[in-house]
């Protein structure tokens, strides 16, 4: 069964690759799968991914975390300050600590004092926004390049690397060949795309990106394979049952929110240390909320969150690097909808046929008529996608059963 599942996944991936490759050759928009686009997409994926994982850790232990955005803000500020003072690695550590501070505030409010979890999260967002502005006034104003809404630039950046042989990385001083780059330049059907995508994922990679990507398997392993993880999940699924079995739900929720805050802080840190070299007000730009949307899209599972974050990262990346290619993307969506349309017709699923038909017509129409896509529209894309997911996949979503429900120790049930 697993084999046929893997086979189907492989077919789907190659099918999508073939379609996008055809679209690329047809429209001459190499930006669709160029290493530049993919590399940028990867960089933009990282903070969303980490924010999504932050949401996962919070909700799996049973607490809604609307405050991820605020915790990210703490992370950007604290990270930038640490990086400015002591270098980027210490900066990342400070970013994590900054986010954990937010997580601690949220946990004390919701776990210790049973304040409504949504209200606490919203308050953290507001508090973070104005709090770091106040801190900036104390610390950054008057420094060279700094101000109330901006930190001074950092002197060092985090090291980046290329993978040897595949993307021209150095081995002991020897410049190895850039194999994937060579493939990308050939522009062959599918192979050129694979080269571009592969090179985007292996060329000029920041170590922070590697850390972020490692968070996904590590979280999966901890949550599903360790005692701590099982107990943490049980606190989100049925705290009453967990407590009756001697699990310390309160303490686990503290831990869960501290980890959540730390990940959110790290997400902020990648923005102010990796993606740029200074803190700037509004740097998080709602990525905390996109992260939450990703978590729902990913059905509260690390692999799903990864997929969602890559989707949103790609959408943002292509806008940034190859905005001309966006119209080609419409053709891609039209082609995908077309495939689904045929599939749905064969399977005689009326509603799916309708949805696919509408998607096909709209994207085809958009490809014919739209020259430039307004930025506000692309920015709202993650939310639109999440709404669609919520509306259509409602039955299949499996959020932690008791996420958002306050828990008091020893309460009669």
């Amino acid at each position: 069964m697993t084999n046929s599942k893997n086979f189907r996944l492989l077919v789907a991936i190659f099918g999508a690759l073939a379609i996008i490759s055809t679209v690329r050759l047809w429209t001459d928009q190499d930006g669709l799968t160029s290493s530049g686009t993919i590399g940028t997409a990867l960089r933009l994926t990282v903070p969303i991914l980490l924010a999504g994982m932050a949401g996962l850790w919070a909700e799996r232990c049973g607490v809604l975390n609307i405050g991820i955005e605020g915790m990210m803000i703490f992370g950007t500020w604290a990270g930038a300050w640490g990086a400015w003072q002591f270098g980027p690695w210490v900066g990342l550590l400070f970013a994590i600590l900054g986010g954990m501070f937010g997580g601690l505030v949220h946990s004390i409010a919701t776990v210790r004092f049973n304040i409504d979890q949504v209200i606490s999260g919203v308050v953290i967002n507001l508090f973070a926004f104005f709090g770091v502005r106040y801190l900036s006034e104390l610390v950054y104003v008057g420094k060279k390049g700094g101000g109330i809404s901006q930190s001074p630039p950092q002197k060092w950046a985090l090291p980046r690397f290329d993978l040897p042989i595949l993307s021209g990385g150095e081995i002991a001083g020897w410049k190895s060949p850039d194999f994937l780059g060579w493939l990308e330049l050939r522009r062959w059907f599918i192979i050129g795309d694979l080269g571009g995508i592969g090179r985007g994922l292996t060329h000029n990679i920041s170590w922070a990106t590697v850390i972020a990507l490692v968070v996904v398997p590590v979280s999966t392993w901890v949550l599903w394979r360790t005692r701590f993880g099982l107990r943490l999940r049980s606190s989100g699924e049925s705290p009453v049952a967990a407590e009756s079995l001697g699990v310390d739900v309160i303490r686990l929720r503290y831990y869960g929110l501290l980890i959540s805050g730390g990940l959110a802080g790290l997400a902020g840190g990648t923005l102010s240390i990796v993606a740029s070299s200074y803190y700037r007000q509004g740097q998080t730009a709602g990525r905390g909320f996109i992260g939450l949307a990703t978590m729902i899209f990913g059905n509260w599972r690390p692999s799903g969150i990864m997929t969602g974050a890559m989707l949103f990262g790609y959408a943002e990346g292509i806008k940034l690097v190859a905005s001309d290619s966006i119209t080609a993307l419409f053709l891609f969506i039209a082609a995908i909808s077309g495939v689904f349309l045929i599939y749905a017709i064969i399977r005689r699923k009326r509603i799916q046929v309708l949805i696919a038909l509408v998607a096909f017509c709209l994207s085809a129409l958009a490809y014919q008529t739209v020259d430039t896509v307004p930025e506000s529209l692309t920015q709202s894309l993650p939310y639109v996608v999440t709404l669609i997911v919520l509306a259509t996949a409602n039955q299949r979503l499996r959020p932690p059963a008791m996420a958002g429900v306050p828990f008091r120790r020893g309460e009669p049930h």
Binding site: R225, L230, R233, E237, V240, A241, A242, G410
Partner: protein
Amino acid sequence: MRSGSVKPNQKSTIDKSPVVELANISKSFPGVVANRDISMRIERATIHAIVGENGAGKSTLMKILYGLHQPDSGTISINGVLTQFKSPSEAIAAGIGMVHQHFMLADNLTILENIILGYEPTSYGVLSLSDARKRVKELASSIGVDLDPDLPISELGVGQRQRVEILKVLFRGADILVLDEPTAVLVPQEVDELFVNLRKLVANGTTILFISHKLDEVLSISDEITVIRQGSTVATVAPNAVDRLKLAELMVGSDLPGHGERATKIGKNIQLSVRDLTVIVKNHKNPVQNVSFDIFESEILGIVGVDGNGQFELCEALLGLVDIQGAVEIGGIDASNLNVRERLDQGLAYIPFDRHREGLMLSASLWENALLGHEVSLSRGPMIDFDAAKKSCREIVEQFGVTTPNELVPAFVLSGGNQQKLVVGRNLAKAPKVLVAAHPTRGIDVGAQAAVWEEIRRSRDAGMSVLLVSADLEEVLGLSDRILVMFDGKISAELDPKKATPQILGKYMTGAQ
């Protein structure tokens, strides 16, 4: 890592010394004394039943034994050693396992995860899942249960969930089992299976504390019975020294009202007529399929079935809460297209399944609760007529014997029985033509139960028709004029209560016949 497997005591002579000894336990909560000077001795390898009305303090006592509450005074000895449990984990370590009345299971986790939670076999913090899976399978087969440990709980039925609960405490090596109302959710056949398992456990040296208010079951399963009334122990008796009535009197503390005979005959007019009723749920199996029945004046029609076989949806359909096909007539008038309010105005009344979820606003005052559904008659224009509303509430309190200081207190201060009397009173006060009563006495004590039955009988004698949906088979057999069995959304049998027994009903309810 501790060993979680059960080591049954195979010695032929089982030591009968007291394994649990409670001495002078008292516990009060703000405003309530839950336990007052309770003492009892429980002998090894026996089934010791604890019976009492709801709110008598059984659950509090067990929570104290399990470390969820700490007693204000008094001592607990386990195997002759004085102990104090500050948390459930300390009680678990002492060999006490609790199977809660409401299952303490996480629906989205697997059977295996639920069983090992809190007692996980690990190496360096990493779960040893294959070891655990093997041990769970061994345990399950030792009590004759066949379960796939990797299924999520959400896919299990009630009986299977209870077995998971029992496996859970056995996995922890418990030799003192506390079962809180274990049969409340089971059909008779499942109860028999459970009792077989329990006897097997006792034979292996396990001690069982069995909390219940189903007196017949208590009499059949236990070796000793302790009766608790109003927080104090009343008596400890052997089951062969008492009968059902004597036990009930010990629980209630007074003579029970007898079963009233009917004063009037079943009338000739059809008050509620249901034709080919099907409840439609999109993308799911229709929970109610082609159900038809009539109820005459002064008739009580009982409906029994295992929870989840369409009874709930049937009630919602009669009330007008869900999409239906088919026809519903109330008092001779076609009500199929009427909304809830219009149906109530036609003379329909509804005692909901769950008084906390659908019947009451727990933190609102009694008079506000009594006002629900009567807003129109107790208002002047858009304004509520406070005096009239409070007066009407006082009348309900008086007429239906609700024990309460006044009508201004919030509903949650009342005991379950008194809450239910208020709900019943609110619905009967309007003298409805048709009463849909779903579990009208679920989870309330014998005294309140008798009072509710009495009120339903009185209204029936005055001409009201009743659709009685209940899981309490004794109740259905005692009250109904006819009984329908629902299985899998359909009416599977129509029975005469004079000829039916709980065993016969159970066969139809499980689809065995």
